[in-house]
């Protein structure tokens, strides 16, 4: 784990207790902790950032 990823996870853990009353935020916090950008079947299941 590099320093940046470690930092990201630390921030996500810091926020974990935070926003569990929001389902969307809870999911995003889990994704950040797992260093993921989305679920595998979601809109960006592959690297498609130029979706227009």
């Amino acid at each position: 784990m590099n320093a940046v990823t470690s930092g990201h996870r630390a921030r996500a853990e810091e926020t974990t207790s935070v926003a569990l009353d929001s389902a969307a935020l809870a999911r995003l916090i889990a994704e950040v902790r797992n260093d993921a950008v989305s679920a595998p079947t979601a809109y960006n299941r592959t690297h498609n950032r130029h979706n227009r």
Partner: protein, 374 residues
């Protein structure tokens, strides 16, 4: 030859024409007429050469690559040519190279969906929201409503045995006159797993529709209302733009162009095989063309390693003093290049949506921060 830009997305214009006449289109409705000179569809020979070139490029770079069939409306090529196009790409670029089609949905027949399933092609469908707002912006070329046909196509995809995996998401353009709660409820009602929102295109010389000035926050206000609806939903779908920005605030990563500070590389290939810059720059005085006349017949690695391509690539990064000193740049990312453009300063401006994004980011932080101390 310098360092090679890692290409993560290739937009392949299978067709240069469209069967819709959207009033906000950056290809046909914002002054650029270059599409008139393009062949209506890409030839099989051009696609074959492109696929071969991309295979060599992928083999030479570490970054993953995704190819997006685009247009115009890419499905205007018809199901047989579409199948052949998918087959050509997959012969040279098998999974896990991503392959997607961005479509307005009108020609998304069962046959086309089957083709997508066979070749692992993700489907993204453009639809703006409920019928009353969609149809006033996205009529077909004869002025007829398109909404019902698009919704039928979404259901057709979702009812396919692999439909949940095939549907990458829906893509909407913000209509400031619509209620964000109504728009969000609509997208949930059609069964969409996810949706992304685009702002109306514009630049410093031609402000986006609905923005009264560069310091006004009409789009930011709208997105704040959408965010509040989203965060209050106990079973939310995904909203890519909001997810990306929230994830960045939480210390994570984003994938969307113009958000965050990750590097990105895009190739756009027109139907004649010519290679252009980010195609949204068409709305910035047609500044999407390179000085060089590159085509798929040139060596792609040489192109993405050239001084000219590197200069273009670097120009996409925010460069205005305001952006470079902004504490929110890591989240905002500076916005899409076309939204930064002016005739006087080129791309060295903040986005015309700078204040909108600041409004949204501040609201996101407010929604997150109070809970941190809990």
């Amino acid at each position: 030859m310098g360092r090679a830009v890692a290409i993560d997305t290739v937009l392949v214009k299978l067709a240069s024409r469209c069967n819709l006449d959207c009033d906000y289109c950056y290809v046909y409705r914002m002054g650029d007429q270059a599409w008139r000179l393009q062949p209506k569809i890409m030839s099989p020979e051009t696609l074959e050469v492109l696929a071969q070139g991309l295979a060599a490029l992928v083999a030479d770079q570490d970054a993953p690559l995704s190819i997006v069939f685009h247009g115009g409306e890419p499905l205007l090529v018809g199901p047989d040519r579409f199948e052949a196009a998918c087959s050509t790409i997959r012969r040279w670029l098998p999974s896990p190279v991503g392959l997607h089609v961005q479509t307005n949905g009108l020609l998304l027949s069962d046959a086309v969906i089957d083709v997508c399933a066979r070749h692992d092609v993700g489907i993204s469908i453009s639809i703006d929201g409920p019928a009353w707002m969609h149809d006033r912006h996205r009529p077909d070329v004869r002025g007829r409503a398109s909404h019902a046909a698009v919704v039928a196509s979404i259901h057709r995809v979702l009812s396919h045995p692999t439909g949940q995996d095939l549907l990458s998401g829906l893509l909407a353009v913000v209509d400031l006159e619509a209620d964000p709660a109504e728009v969000y409820a609509f997208f949930k009602s059609v069964g969409a797993p996810s949706v992304d929102f685009l702002y109306r295109d514009g630049n410093h010389d031609a402000l986006p529709f609905g923005k009264s000035s560069v310091v006004s926050t009409e789009y930011g206000d709208w997105m704040v209302r959408l965010l509040d609806v989203y965060l209050a939903d106990p079973s939310p779908i995904r909203i890519r733009l909001l997810d990306d920005m929230l994830r960045l605030i939480l210390g994570g990563r984003a994938v969307k162009e113009g958000v965050g500070d990750e590097d990105y590389g895009i190739l756009v290939v027109e139907t004649d095989g010519s290679i252009t810059k980010n195609d949204t720059l068409k709305s910035a005085d047609g500044s999407d063309r390179f000085t060089e006349t590159w085509t798929v017949h040139d060596d792609l690695k040489s192109i993405v390693s050239s001084t000219s391509f590197l200069a273009y690539h670097d120009s996409q990064k925010p460069s205005s003093p305001k952006c470079l000193s902004c504490p929110e740049l890591r989240v905002c990312g500076g916005g899409m290049p076309t939204h930064r453009w002016s005739a006087r300063a080129g791309l060295t401006n903040p986005s015309v949506f700078c204040e909108d994004q600041m409004r949204l980011i501040q609201h996101m932080r407010m929604r997150i921060a109070p809970r941190k101390v809990a």
